[in-house]
């Protein structure tokens, strides 16, 4: 007997989670299965909608205004601009700790490399760091942390022309962490606020950190740290530091493993759980049955193949990074349902000679109809009850456009909602 649900979502990243949430809120019986850790841990945790056009114009102030001029193949064009707005509303409702919903104007956030990037939603923890905010800024780096060199980040930010003075200082983190401690170790120490030895005296970690920063502060009104300020209690940690320093405290988003990405993942899983969906993580979908219609999929668990059947399916397995799209020397393919992935025959046409060139591979993924059903090579839908969402979709270069999260949320929302409606 198969495990049954009305809607089965495959993939636990932003696209899959939004899909499942949208379907559950439509009232459907939803099951989400995901295999590996999602790529959210590799992402900054910022929610971009559209920062640049495919022609490279930008940074865009209003992403929604630019959507109607995108190429027809773009996922935003499939779902339409109103769906993008509705999807963001669902996100705002599910993740209230994010900001940016008060305006349709993009925000500019500092990056850990010292550049700035346009984004539509940002965690509350990053909000005091907005680059359009004119308050002078002190960035604090940790001596052992090679991903965030505060003086370098400050100098680079200055070169981008930010409208404030910015300075970087480097401190030794209290508590004798190993030279190559993971960011989660820093977060844990601050979360638990454990006592650490400071000149022979035991001091709670948050206070010890504030003591190290205090003498470095000049006239700045805000202080930015790399995104290590807690996993479970980030708000409380920021407040504690802010109170002791007398300034606003913010985090600069970082690369993998990204705490803001992990916190976002946790928040969405919690919202999904609350919406009543069933969730199974850690096992891959390896096979399916069905011709025009998917009857069931098989999840591999301890060597056994467990059937899962549903009325409607959402494929949200990610792109090349998440392995929802794969390749070999001969071609590019979607590994679960073998959905068609349009691509150039010669693999030397997949990329350009410049790192930031106009790479075709960046746009590879399944093509869909306006209902997000994947299309085969002759443009017929592959399966009548399968929709695709997120990075498994082709037709857009999320890295160049800064549109990854927005497309995942918008197409996840649309796919989940439509799947639920059809299943009822």
């Amino acid at each position: 007997m198969a495990i049954e649900s009305e809607v089965l979502v495959i993939g636990g990243g932003l696209g899959g989670l939004t899909s499942a949430l949208a379907a559950a809120r439509e009232g459907a019986d939803v099951r989400l299965v995901s295999y590996k850790q999602s790529t959210l841990r590799q992402a900054s945790g910022l929610v971009d909608v559209l920062g640049y056009t495919p022609d490279g114009d930008g940074p865009l102030t209003n992403p929604y205004e630019a959507i109607p001029s995108l190429p027809e193949s773009h996922p935003y064009r499939k779902v339409g601009v109103q769906t993008v707005r509705d999807a963001l509303s669902l996100f705002d409702d599910a993740v209230p700790t994010y900001e940016g919903e008060h305006t349709e104007t993009n925000a500019l956030l500092p990056t850990h490399g010292g550049s700035i990037k346009p984004t539509a939603r940002y965690p509350a923890g990053a909000s005091a760091g907005l680059a359009s905010d004119t308050r002078d800024t002190l960035l604090v780096g940790i001596e052992e942390m090679v991903d965030f060199d505060a003086p370098h980040v400050a100098a680079h930010l200055d070169a981008t022309g930010v409208p404030f003075d910015v300075r970087g200082e480097t401190i030794r983190f209290p508590g004798d962490l190993r030279a190559d401690a993971k960011v989660t170790r820093y977060a844990k120490l601050l979360d638990t606020n454990s006592e650490v030895a400071v000149r022979g005296r035991m001091v709670p970690a948050r206070e010890a950190l504030a003591q190290r920063v205090n003498p470095l502060l000049e006239d700045e009104d805000r202080v930015g740290f790399p995104a290590i300020l807690g996993d479970d209690n980030p708000g409380a940690i920021r407040d504690a530091l802010g109170d002791r320093l007398g300034v606003d405290v913010f985090e600069v988003p970082m690369g993998p493993p990204s705490l803001p990405g992990l916190r976002l993942e946790d928040a969405l899983f919690a919202a999904l759980d609350e919406a009543g969906a069933s969730i199974e993580t850690g096992n891959p979908v390896v096979d399916f049955e069905g011709e025009d219609r998917i009857e069931k999929v098989f999840i591999e668990k301890n060597g056994a193949k467990i059937p899962n059947s549903a009325d409607q399916y959402v494929l949200a397995t990610g792109g090349f990074v998440g392995k929802g799209v794969e390749s070999d020397r001969e071609g590019v393919y979607e590994p679960i349902f073998d959905c068609h992935v349009p691509h150039a025959e010669d693999r030397y046409d997949w990329f350009e000679g410049q790192l930031f060139g106009d790479h075709e591979f960046a746009r590879y993924g399944v093509a869909t109809d306006d209902d997000l059903r994947p299309l085969d090579a002759s443009e017929h839908s592959e399966f009548e009850n399968l929709r695709a969402a997120g990075s498994v979709l082709g037709g857009y270069d999320f890295a160049a456009e800064k549109s990854g999260s927005g497309v995942s949320i918008a197409t996840g929302y649309a796919a989940g909602q439509r799947a639920a409606q059809e299943a009822r």
């Binding site: 940074p59 993009n106 850990h112 490399g113 700035i116 905010d133 060199d149 693999r347 030397y348």
Partner: protein
Amino acid sequence: MGPTPHIAVIGGGSTGAGIARDLAMRGLDVTLVEQGNLTHGTTGRMHGLLHSGGRYAVSDQASATECIEENRVLRDIASHCVEMTGGLFVKRPEDSEEYFQKKLSGCEECGIPAEVVSGEEARAMEPHLAKDIDKAISVPDGAIDPFRLVVANAASAQEHGARIETHSKVTDLLVESGEVVGIEVEHDSGPGKRVHGTEGGTEQIRADYVVNATGAWAGRIGDMAGLDIEVRPSKGVMTIMNIRQVDTVINRCRPKGDADIVVPHETTAILGTTDEEVEDPEDYPEEQWEVDMMIDTLSELVPMLDEARTIRSFWGVRPLYEPPDVGSDDPTDITRDFFLLDHDERDDLPGMTSIVGGKFTTYRMMGEQISDHVCGKFGIDADCRTADEPLPGSEDFSVLRDYMDEFGLRSPIGRRSVERLGSRADEVLKTDGPNPTVCECEGVTRAEIQDAIEGSGSDLNAVRIRTRASMGNCQGGFCSHRMASELHSEYDESIVREAWDELLQERWKGQRHALWGEQLSQAALNYALHATTQNRDQDPADGEPVDFSAFDTGHSQAGGVDSADVAADGGTDGY
């Protein structure tokens, strides 16, 4: 002419660096100039094989004998650059028994220790060898790091008073009264571009003698004085695997052919190669079929290569040369021997000698002969000491010391650092501050990066070849910005940014030839990390100014301490 002759050596590959070291150790004044990094040309684009000589034991016994001799010397003087992996010449059923026997007796004739092992024994040594391998000949092949070796030669030359100028391109030979009297170089350096030894600009370097050790580029230098030096550049592809499928050098035991060697090299294995004549040493096609052939053909020896992950491919050009009267059609027929072209004897132009042909393994011997030749010109009677004195890093070196405790490094990273640094480990790793890992793939710590910066300035590609940072699986995706940050304490932000971009682009260049499967996933991730997370592709610091006031200034800006934060009351679930 002063009491000490001044020699200008052109070319910062193994040969040039070897000559510079030798001459400097004999007390001559030496200036070495290189158009790019050390190893920029052919040396930095080899497969890292320390020849036993087995490869030439049938076709070119003179070269084979030289190889085994130098193999022994390098194990001694460059121990921190060498890994004695051993090598196998394996015979497939379709390969000729007659040739196998010729190879065996050839090795004996050339003094190369060689032993026949059965197919089973070979597979016991290398479990991933194809099941149907008949048998093999084991020889003392090894792996050698060309970057580390050349840097050590240059460092030794420097210690003996030589001047080493990288990123300095020779733009002319100075010829006065029918004699070469120096070179003109353009330094590609200075603030805003790249900072290392000297500020940018053109410099005339007068010399008592010029040695042209530019390999495949020798003809170009010759042209500057109207000399005809007919080097025949021949390209070969090498493909780097992300792990070592084999720990022994695997050669195919057959007369000659493309794609017949796998060299385990540090964390990788390198597949080689092809041999195809090209017109221009810097501009030649790099093609898909060459990469495919490496994988397909070498899978006949090590089947798992077919499914394995490659991380990049690169091409090198051999500086082949044969005297004008030989006229080989096929580059594989051209001897690997080297030639010393004295332009006084050959072209009636005194003051310069070119060295062409030759092999990496015998670089030191070539250096010795050139240095003898130069010293002969000046009547200097000084012995060559390069075969006896260890290179910097290889003096009194033992990896058995417990460096983990000493430097607070975890075991694998500590071991690798110490293996790379050899006897310099103490000097480099003893730092005051914390020493975190900057490049995780290759286990390179901050102290090593800082040491490399000290030696090579702001050029991150020079830091890379000295440390291996950014040469692993991620190809700089996770560490290039970290390496750039390490420059910041000493260099301006704009220089740092340029060096960072240059490194990333260099890493991309070779990866293009590995963009399928796992490495395409990796490339997509790297692209996302740099473009999405960091916005490196649209960084306003490199482009148009941004109107900051047109963007969201937040709705909690005026609120003091984060009034919009839901967890402002100290709640436990805030973000």
